[in-house]
Amino acid sequence: KLGHPSELPPEPAPDYEGDEPFLRRVHHVLLEVEVLEGVLQCPDSGRQFPISRGIPNMLLSEEEA
C-alpha cells in the first residue's frame, strides 16, 4: 500500500524473526519511510483516515464515537 508491494509479503512468514532481508525491508517501511500525504485505512471497517503533512488525523466524528 505504500508503493512497496512487491517487496513485502502480505503477512509475515512463520520464521520471520530470523529472516534478515525481510526484517530490513520491514524496518525500512516502518521507520524510514514517512507518508506525508495519503490515507491510513482501517483493516476491519475500511474507514479511511487522512494523512496531511505527515500527521494522520484519527479523530472520530460525532456519530462514530
Binding site: L31, D44, S45, I55, M58, L59, A65
Partner: protein, 523 residues
Amino acid sequence: MAEAEAAGDAGVAPAPAPAPAPAPAPAPAPAPAPAEQGAELAAVIGATVPTGFELTAAAEVQEKLGSASRISRDRGKIYFEVPARGLPQVHRLRSVDNLFVVVQEFKDYQFKENKEDALKDLEDLVKKLPWTDPLKVWELNNSLKKKKTKRKKHNLQSTASKEKLNDNGEEEGTDQKDASEQEDCAQNAAGVEPASGQDTEKTQGVASRNGEEEEEEEDNEQSDAKDELQAGSGSETKAGDGKTSDGEAKVLKFRVTCNRAGDKHSFTSNEAARYFGGAVQEHFQWKADMTNFDVEVLLNIHNNEVVVGIALTEESLHRRNITHFGPTTLRSTLAYGMLRLCDPQPTDIIVDPMCGTGAIPIEGATEWPSCYHIAGDNNPQAVKRAANNICSLLKKNENKESSTSLGIPLDIIQWDICNLPLRTGSVDIIVTDMPFGKRIGSKKKNWDLYPACLMEMGRICTPGTGRAVLLTQDKKCFAKALSRMGHIWRKGQTVWVNVGGLHAAVYLLKRTWERAEEKRSFW
C-alpha cells in the same frame, strides 16, 4: 567524597575541639583541598533541578559521571564532585536546569543577630574564600561555551529564532566587553586614583542611593529573591590585575545574585548581595555590571546553609528541545525526570496521548532512542507545534553532506484520548502532562475527562508490566478518578513538583495484571 557534617549540628563541644569551632566565628565545612602541583583540577558542582526530582538527577549523575551526589536541604539542588575535564559531560546532563561551581559551602553558618554585624561578616568572608580553583573551572567552562556557540551558529536554521537571539546576545556581550576594556586602559593611562578603600565605600553609597536594585522583602520560609549589585561610577583598575593567568590586562565584569530563604535573618537578599558584592569588587578589582557580566557570583542562603558559587550556565538548560512554544510547554528537565521514573527499557513503546507541543516525547526520543515514541493530541495547533519542534530537532541532527538526517523514533498523530487508535494492551509506557484545568480546559471538564483518560490509558497499556507517569495539578480530581480504577491501576510513587508556580504532582502508576475489556469493535 562525602563532606563531614559540621559538629555544630550534634551539640556544642566546648573549647579545645579540633573540629570546626561553633563559637562566634562562622565555621566553614571542609572545602575540597586546592589542587596540589600535578594533581588534577576537580570541582564541586552544584546543580539546580526541578524540585522533587533531586533523586532522579542524582541517579543520572551517578550513571553518567560516576559521582555520588549530595542533596541539600535547600530543595531543588544537588551537589557532586567531578574532575574538571568532566565538564562537557556535566553540561550534557538532562535532569539539571542550571550549573554552578561551588567556592565554599557552610553547613551551619552562624549569622550575627545584629544586621550590621551580620553583613560585615559576609563582607569579611570574601577574602577568606578559596577562589582560585573555582575560577579556573569557570575559565575552563568559558572556553567550552565559546566552542559551543560557534557550533550552534553553524547548525541552526532560521526557524529557530529564539536560539538565534541568544547567540546574538552572547556576541554582543563579548563586543561590549572589548570596548570597555579599552576604556579602562585609557583611564589607567590618565593616572591612577588613590587606593580602593574609600572609593569602594563611595561606590556603594552611590549604588544604594541609585535605588535601581529591586527591593523585595522576604521574611518567610518559602520565598527567594534575586538581587544584584550595581555599581554607580566605574571603579579604577590596575593594569594587569585581571584574573586571567595568561598575562592579559583584562578587567572582568561581575554581578552577585543572592537567594535568601529563612525567617531568622536580620537582612534581606538585597543587602547581602550589596555588601558581599562590594567586598568582591574590592578584592578582585572587577567591575560590577548587572547585565553584561563575565562572572556571576552566587550567594545562596537557606536558613543556616550558605553556599557561595560561580555560575556556569547562563540560559537555563531546560528549554533546549523546544523552539515552538505553546501556552503550557513543559520544561525538558521535568519531562526527563518523568520519563526516567518509568525506567524505559529498549523496545518499549512509549505513548504521550496529550502531548501538546511534544516536550515529553521529544525528550524521550532523544534520550531513549531504542524505544519507540508515539505522541498525540486532539488539538490541531498543538500537533502542528509538536511537528515543528520535531522538524527543528531533525535539522539539528542533519548530516552536513547530504540533506537527509537520521530519523528519530517518534511519530505524531492527531487523535482523541478517549478513543485511541491503539490496540488493547500494546503500550508499555504512558507518560503525559494532564490538563491542569487552569490554562488548558477547565476543572469541570476534568471531572469527566480524567476518568475517561484513565480508562482508555488502562486499555492500551500492557497488563502487569505496563506503567504510567502522569503529571497534574488537579490532584483532587485525579484521586477521585483513580479511586474507581483500582482493578486497573495500582498507585506507586508520587513526586511533588512545582510547575510554573503551581503545586503539582507526578503520579507513577503500575498496570495490574487484569486484562481490559475489549472495546466495541470500532477499532
